[in-house]
């Protein structure tokens, strides 16, 4: 395959983290992003669980890409993804019942996260195992980072704590709305605006430099 820009391995990884961040740029997988980002811990656990499923399914899809006929590829991908979601579900329950209870149905719903099927279809099925792994690691890290950004802000403002430790002074009255579902939308909007402003400034600076 000849791409206009030859993909280097750092590029494969970094694109998911920032330039094509699944949450902040592609706005994919909004259901878990909004639902389980009410605390930093839940957000981090959900991000890591999704990243694990993404990595394993990308690896397997890439390995089996010559074995899976085109006509049944989506069914095969879903089968693979569902398997790793089930394994993650068992693993989380074995590690911590409380975490399993907090994440609830959203662990099983990782299977419906369009980010994972999207990467399998758009990238892993057309690339070698090494690049597929880097792509998954980058996208997984980007997803985890974004979830953590939401979770940290929501927990900080909604409960005055971070990872369960009180960090704001005792006189702080928690904004309960931030841990309610609507807080997820507010926080996501805030991050999207902040990132757009940052990106636009950078673009302007780059064009200015190019003109000189």
């Amino acid at each position: 395959m000849t791409n206009p820009e030859t993909p280097s391995s750092t590029n494969e990884f970094m694109k998911g983290l920032w330039r094509e961040n699944p949450v902040f740029v592609q706005v994919l997988g909004m259901c878990p992003v909004l639902a389980v980002s009410n605390t930093a811990m839940n957000a981090l656990a959900m991000g890591l669980a999704t990243a694990f499923v993404l990595l394993m399914s990308n690896l397997l899809v890439s390995l089996l890409r010559d074995f899976i006929p085109r006509q049944v590829r989506i069914a095969s991908y879903i089968l693979i993804i569902a398997t790793f979601v089930t394994l993650t579900d068992y693993a989380i329950e074995a590690i911590s019942l409380d975490l399993h209870k907090a994440l609830g149905a959203f662990i099983s719903l990782i299977v419906a996260n369009c980010l994972i099927l999207g990467r399998a279809e758009a990238f892993a099925s057309k690339n070698g195992v090494g690049n597929a792994a880097l792509d998954a690691l980058g996208m997984g890290a980007g997803f985890t980072l974004a979830l953590f950004c939401l979770g940290a802000v929501r927990e900080l403002l909604g409960a005055g704590s971070l990872f369960g430790f009180a960090v704001l002074p005792g006189g702080f009255e928690p904004w309960i709305v931030m841990i309610l579902p609507s807080g997820g939308f507010f926080t996501l909007a805030f991050w999207l605006i902040a990132i757009r402003i940052f990106e636009r400034r950078r673009e302007r600076r780059q064009t200015a430099e190019a003109l000189q």
């Binding site: 009410n38 095969s76 693979i80 394994l87 329950e93 074995a94």
Partner: protein, 223 residues
């Protein structure tokens, strides 16, 4: 369209992946099951000890729908956990109950001490009540104190409560069998109170009838 598509690769791919994935799931299931069960048992034990202060061991009993003690603990029915002190004497029983809250079913566990005829502790096992409002049933100290010495005396026949448990307006509790509600969590506080009231009216007579059998459980401890 010609029907010349070779079906074999498709079967091979789908069946192959299906069998492989199935095996993997079965393997991990068997591998994690002991851990999950140990976690669940530990969580239950912690909850039982929390609602029955001073207990050192526990044993689970099962009642059928008619309130008769069933010998087999693996069978279906309502579960009651007897808590014993270090000497193996029956301290009380922890009873599981559930009722409809504001958002979803609330599952609770409460500790009953037959000797004092009091409920001495309550713990919310699972609830989806609104954070900051309904979840005060778990965090509000004043509300939790309602269940530290709740009067649940049975009548002479041992069939009904002398004073049915009642949830009253916040700050108006005047009798030991009343529960002070919570401002801002009216429905959730009412729901927990009603759940305890319904469960107590049904199960406390059954516990009294089977007191000997429950007490005997501590003598030959399962260890």
């Amino acid at each position: 369209m010609t029907a010349s598509i070779d079906a074999w690769p498709m079967y091979r791919a789908l069946v192959g992946i299906g069998v492989g994935c199935g095996l993997l799931i079965a393997l991990v299931y068997v591998g994690t099951l002991p851990h999950i069960e140990r976690q669940r048992a530990a969580a239950l034990e912690q909850a039982v000890f929390a609602v029955l202060p001073g207990s050192a061991s526990r044993r689970t009993f099962v009642f059928d729908a008619a309130g008769t003690l069933v010998a087999d603990t693996g069978s279906d029915g309502s579960r009651v956990h007897a808590g014993y002190d270090a000497a193996g004497r029956l301290l009380g029983v922890a009873i599981e109950a559930e009722g409809m809250g504001y958002a979803d079913t609330i599952e609770i566990l409460y500790g009953y001490v037959p000797a004092d005829e009091r409920i001495v502790g309550l713990r919310v096992l699972a609830s989806k009540e609104t954070p900051g409002l309904g979840d005060k049933i778990e965090t509000d100290e004043r509300y939790r104190a309602n269940f530290e010495a709740l009067d649940v005396r049975l009548d002479a026949a041992g069939e009904a409560l002398v004073n049915p448990i009642a949830v009253v307006k916040p700050g108006t509790k005047s009798n030991a069998w009343e529960i002070d509600g919570i401002t801002g969590a009216t429905i959730s506080a009412q729901a927990v109170g009603n759940t305890v009231a319904a469960s107590a009216a049904r199960w406390l007579p059954a516990v009294r009838r089977n007191r000997e059998a429950l007490a005997a459980g501590g003598q030959h401890d399962e260890s």
